[in-house]
Symmetry: C2
Subunit: 310 residues, 2 copies
């Protein structure tokens, strides 16, 4: 099962973190942009080529200590179909380096349309007599607002192609409570969504206690993380909000079980823009990303101790 | 304001319908597929080229009587970045024919990430000294599960570039009630989301009583449509679920105000696959789409009478 593979990679690196690759052009060192613009002009293609080179450098620097990447689809769509090509090439490159790939797309729809998203991001499509993978992620983030009709089409694809999903439960943003904290029969919406994840996950059981249906739970809400870990014992957590959004390693320690499993913590800007914060030469952007990832690993591991596969 | 333009196009055509362009390869006539596969092989590129030709034929047949198209992003992502290029080319072609373009992406995220989606689908991005539109829709469907942090980044872009959004409220699928019908302080989630649309919309007032923040309300729930029309007097409705999903013109007549404004009804498979239902020669697929669109217009207009701009 897909999250078994994720857990194994996390254990192997002793590092429950994922590098968010959300590459705005502003984050890319000048020398990379100049090279791409000289060759392709100040065009969407030029921008997309610059992002890909930036990402490859980050992946090369990180893959030995970080088990996974999480490209955020928005930052690729921002550069049109050229940007979307860079999303695919980034996934492909990270997989060639042995990394687990989570596409952060928060996709949602129903029935055959959700099947189309599932085939696109996690499965294959038939073209004449060929079956082709349009993208190549190991897992996809999704939004469960539409109910089971939006989630069950994914489960068959996850079963067939050994993939996983993370459903939004409690997001890391300040206004997440506007809907997610409201009570339904005395239970907050985010917990109700979490309970649906436990139910949906029954179809995708795993070796280490977690199913293939995970939940997104923001690092910025430590009390809710603790409560959800208790109530959702089979749901793996993808945890955004560490670093730039203000949460610390201590805030998220409750996400992990007694074996140190059960969650993966995202850092995007913290890693991608480490060279700006360090103030080092921009040619050393990947080195700075490595140093920040190593620091983050150390900080988080100091709170959760060793990671064991049960 | 963007929905003023939509209302004007609807009034001009006396037709409150939108053609959903959700082109699976299965829907495309054999002769179009063969031509594309002969030239580009059985590849994602070949598939994407076939879809584009199919879409262009539909647009040419429809633009004189149908005011808008709604391409569903999932069916383009299904063919990878080549498919996403076809999404862009389809939007561009429909706009060249004077049609209003609603991208059905149900996008959602927060802060700078939502800004990236907004820039991608509704705005512009800076590349060096150039400002470029990565896509070119007039409106985008979005999911409000993350609260105001997920919606307000869109409002500035809508203001600046004269665009609109449709927020999911009550979706057309059977299980939409799992979350959307649950009560929050005695109010169903879908109505609560609708109230937020009214609030968010205050920043984008329009000439004909409707703001630039619309709501998605399924045709399959006529009682809820009637209730929402009463409670959300400034919110324009995008109405899926007509035809293939079982709803009739009568079911949706309550979505419209006394001027016949306030809603636009989607038909996807009904129009795209009309040639299969008719059993006509596949070379006449666009003609069959026109005939079905004309039939649908007549049926809906018989329920709502004339459309006037206030």
């Amino acid at each position: 099962m897909s999250f078994d593979r994720l857990a194994e990679k996390i254990c192997e690196k002793q590092n429950p973190t994922v590098a968010g690759l959300d590459p705005k052009l502003d984050y890319v060192p000048q020398y990379i942009k100049e090279k791409a613009f000289n060759k392709y002009g100040e065009t969407l293609k030029g921008a997309a080529k610059a992002l890909l080179e930036f990402n490859k450098g980050l992946i090369d620097a990180l893959y030995e200590i970080v088990p996974a990447i999480k490209p955020q689809a928005a930052y690729y769509e921002m550069y049109g179909y050229h940007g979307v090509k860079t999303l695919y090439k980034t996934q492909e490159y990270a997989k060639s380096r042995g990394m687990y790939v989570i596409t952060d797309g928060k996709r949602n729809d129903i029935g055959t349309t959700m099947e189309a998203y599932a085939a696109a991001h996690l499965g294959e499509v038939a073209v004449g007599s060929e079956n082709i993978s349009p993208f190549c992620a190991d897992a996809l983030t999704v939004n469960g607002y539409l109910g089971s009709d939006g989630i069950t089409p994914l489960l068959s694809i996850c079963e067939k192609y050994d993939k996983g999903i993370f459903v939004l439960a409690k997001t890391s943003n300040p206004s997440s409570g506007e809907l997610q904290d409201k009570l339904i029969d005395g239970v907050p919406v985010y917990e109700y969504m979490g309970q649906m994840c436990e139910k949906w996950g029954e179809r995708l059981p795993g070796k280490y206690g977690y199913t293939g249906v995970g939940a997104v739970v923001g690092a910025t809400y430590p009390e809710q993380i603790a409560k959800l870990r208790e109530k959702l014992p089979h749901t793996f957590f993808l945890i955004p909000g560490y670093g730039a959004q203000g949460a610390t390693a201590k805030d998220i320690s409750a996400a992990f079980d007694k074996n140190g499993l059960g969650g993966i913590v995202n850092s995007s800007r913290g890693i991608m823009c480490a060279y700006k914060k360090e103030g080092c030469d921009e040619h050393d952007y990947a080195g700075a990303a490595f140093r920040e990832a190593a620091r983050m690993k150390k900080e988080i591991m100091s709170c959760i101790g060793q990671i064991k596969l049960g």
